[in-house]
Symmetry: D2
Subunit: 344 residues, 4 copies
């Protein structure tokens, strides 16, 4: 249920609506809009009677929301959400490029990566200090030491930092250093981690699970918003199929599909999405042409010596060339169009 | 095995190599190149000894081909194949746009569609006269009547015609009218139909099967080339996965993958690939950005009244806008690049 | 639409109903039942008015059939169909075991296979004379020579013959020799071949396509029945998924699913379904326990020397042991139960 | 690397091997066998030199283990592992049946379920106190209250308790009450939770992830063993595919596949595996016939009034009938066979 306020409704009117919602045993979420405010109701198992609200002062109408997801839905918020990561606007008119190594291996490696990303025109730096690994015997990341190197790289280059939290235990630490906390594909339905991330004041980058439907993806994001964190970036990174010419099958159609249903920005990870270096540039361009708000790409100063995922990492030169082409395509399309659906 | 001739080798040298191949009980295929000719050997179940050929006059070297596919392989022919459809070059520097209805419903409908495609800058007209349908009770196409309407549309608009042959019985008829004969996804491994198409002198558009691996796709094309038809265009149209937000999952990564392994051109069908009208334009742009040589798109003068697949057909206006953007992206990328891999 | 006749309705009543159906431009299919006859209407694109029939003499009621498939539906025929293959009842109380090599390689090989199958208690012999092969350069089968060896094996052992037709060109020949004609997984939606098989007077074994949904599978069978061939056996042989520990993923849940929706018998192919010899026996037992009416299994006198699929073929000893266990499980379950759903 | 001790090697010999391993910076795991003990080395990123150990007293040989998984491998331990859950042997000659509701809804509901399971001959009781739910607004379980009801049900019926832990925060609590702690499919690669479960002294039931390969499944179990918990039961519960006639596609071939590669017992969940009540009994029988060590099945006193998953729950009568048939099939197969591979 969405209670839409009149344009002239004041804070007292809104407070009264919230009070009524809570009296009924539900939660209220205030959604500020350009013209007018809406209050979304969650926590109800069945339908709520619109008449409960339509007689309150300042209420324009009470609308039933038909989807399982509410707060992430465009029905609830028609305008695109812009997520601010260290001052960079994700979901706005400019595409955002985030680059860096799969795992942080050393101070030198992450600093060189950061310089390469900045030189190539990237705005954000990625790098894992905690790595979810299929084998218990594989390198699991440098932990807090890695986070400190990331902070040093930010200080030197000015790039915002995106890094993964793999559990609630290390979330606090990751949150202190990161400008945006990543929830990985394997954790997309780790609901306890989602709740913790939802209580964070840092933006969250949520990757689509390997066999996640679009609805499950949006419901995972709903967990974040339901806890109060509205700064959420979605990320397509490929799904599991029978096809064996790439590591995963990058499902770019989810980009326009998300944009139709949700106000949250969506970016694409062509590195995990293909698992092969020579497919990264073509699929990056394809992602931008499909309308993605940005890319998260693996870049390594010396890909052939990477401890993990080297075969899918770009060299600094390849990143710069790819980034350049992506910006050109994004600008071309922006220049030909009216502002994107719902954008302001 | 590939027998590569010296630059100065003459027809008699080549004939002698072919003779030796046939004496051994195999088939020979002459592959003319810019600099020099190669002769490909097929029909051998095990490896062939290079020494059988390296002493013949005019032979530069004899190379073992490592893949299951031979004639379609870039190892066999490094230059891109350009397929000529009614004078239109598919696989060259310009992208090619093929539009039209799923099924031919009437003379008026196909003529209007053709005018819309031409007005939008398309070069080829698609439309099914024979339709493979899941239900025996569904509309199965107008048959030869439909082919005649296509021919009339070509006469009026100058557009080349792409239409599907669904069996060997009707292939002769389809071949007479079509400028390019389509083999549909359900028939990608209908080997008898592939052999018949391989003996045709018309170009073939081969669609990827719904659960076809890249290797199976290339092997299906190999059937065509092995029978002597080298004018083959590949087409990605989406694969079957668990994802339910689109009718199929369009696997654009197959575009650069095919281009790495084969000299054949590949185009994309975003209409069947997504099954939803509002996803067609974004995925068309993505396909072109990924490097596809063209698109085959469903266009209907009045999509909402189409007998089949109306919900995934573009209106004439939508087609024109999409085509315009795709050409702009293709030109932008072409202008920034050296000629594409292997292109001349 | 299904027109159900009264118990006492005579041939003249039935003929009158068929005449009315044809006058309306549709096809009629007489479905004889134990108690009373029904007449199924196909060829109508929209709903038919029950009132057209309910006033005719001998008509009990006219029922709308809700599914896309009609003739294969249990709504149309509640009793299980029993298919007779060379005197063997498929779909009855006894399970049916069909064994033999993937491809017929020689007279000796198929005769030895047949003896092994008979010795192991099998009732039917399988073996391909025409093979659909991914590569144009692979062994494509012995053709009519192979069919003659099959006939000789039948003469010696008394086993009924199941062999595949891969196209309409060779269907006539295959039909002459076979007791049951197989349509392979790659041809499940080769609608021209289905129509030809539907006009055959031999039983058809229809394999599920590699990425076929249950509805598509039943609709493919509907093509056969719509042309007049009601002797159809369905066969699960594994579907394409991401799982890589078997060649395909055997989807045994389709066995009870088919039995709920259709009156046609369903058997299972654990050889192609797993692609690995050591998985064949466990999955055979599982198939029988799930309620399958039989198995079609690859048996080769010397699996390690088979020209194709040797790694998934059972030896004669393995077949005999597996067959024995399967019969024991089937008898155990039959003895504990009321007759199966719909069985008589 | 596996260091196999001589039959007469004593504790001091074994201790010396462990010491050498730890000196090299690796971990040692003592694997007691019937005849002789082995010591498995983990934590090495590259190969270890066998010569490091072969000169130590009591060492028979040092063997390189070829797979990514070590401790779960049959190469490391040829005999089947028997897991003891509240005195019930899982992985032994008798099949084990675990039944109960999806979620614990009330004291009465879980007590009635437990009585039904015991009446039907089940040995273990399942029921979720913490539920991972796709929607943040769905019922999330009764928490500790639910665990207390489970304990009460155990007291009354004597059934061992299997219940899920969804995060490290609630693991301690779940561990206190449970006889076996379940890790759900969505958490199969929640490596922090796996490490916590690996440090538990309670047996773990590990469910296969929805898009998990066999290798990933075994590697997830390896996390548990690597932390010291060798009491691990694997569970197949269906994977994500395009097939839409069941909620998931139950991949029974993984049962013999696991048994070939690992010594750990594997059971099957036909309720989540099919998502439809009428498929549960056939697939239960199929699982047992394929060799599964048991089943975990949803049973509800009044399925139609269940708060979650009611459509896939069996009634008490259906459970009893299914259990009876499964035991009969298991006994039949056991009576016909030599002991299973590796069993004692």
């Amino acid at each position: 249920m969405l209670v839409v306020m009149k344009a002239q409704a004041g804070p007292a009117d809104i407070a009264r609506v919230c009070e009524r919602i809570e009296t009924l045993g539900f939660q209220s979420h205030i959604i500020p809009g350009e013209q007018r405010t809406a209050v979304c109701i969650t926590g109800n198992s069945g339908p709520v009677d619109p008449a409960e609200f339509e007689d309150l002062p300042g209420v324009a109408e009470a609308i039933r929301v038909s989807k399982a997801y509410k707060l992430v839905s465009r029905e609830t918020q028609p305008e695109n959400t812009i997520v601010l990561v260290n001052g960079v606007r994700v979901g706005g008119e400019q595409i955002v490029l985030c680059g860096g190594p799969c795992a942080i291996e050393s101070r030198e490696q992450i600093l060189e990566s950061a310089r390469a990303v900045r030189a190539g025109g990237g705005q954000l730096l990625r790098g894992g200090a905690y790595k979810p690994r299929t084998s218990p015997y594989s390198f699991q990341g440098l932990g807090e030491g890695g986070l400190r190197y990331l902070a040093e790289a930010r200080e030197e280059t000015g790039l915002g930092i995106v890094t993964e939290a793999i559990d609630t235990e290390t979330f606090d630490l990751v949150e202190q250093y990161a400008d945006c906390v990543q929830i990985g594909a394997r954790n997309m339905q780790n609901f306890s981690l989602l709740r913790r991330a939802g209580r964070s004041r840092k933006p969250i980058l949520l990757k689509r699970g390997m066999s996640s439907t679009l609805e499950e993806f949006l419901m995972a994001a709903e967990y974040l918003l339901a806890e109060g964190n509205y700064q959420v970036i979605l990320c397509e990174r490929g799904v599991r199929t029978f096809a064996d010419h790439t590591r995963n099958t990058l499902d770019l159609s989810v980009v326009p599909a998300v944009q139709g249903l949700s106000h949250l920005p969506i970016i694409v990870d062509p590195s995990h999405g293909t698992g092969k270096r020579d497919k990264v540039a073509p699929m990056s361009l394809a992602a931008i042409a499909a309308g993605a708000s940005g890319l998260i790409v693996e870049v390594h100063p010396t890909p052939d010596r990477a401890l993990s995922d080297g075969y899918q990492s770009l060299s600094p030169e390849q990143f710069a060339e790819m980034a350049d082409e992506c910006r050109a395509v994004a600008e071309l399309l922006a220049s030909r169009r009216k502002p994107r659906v719902g954008a302001h």
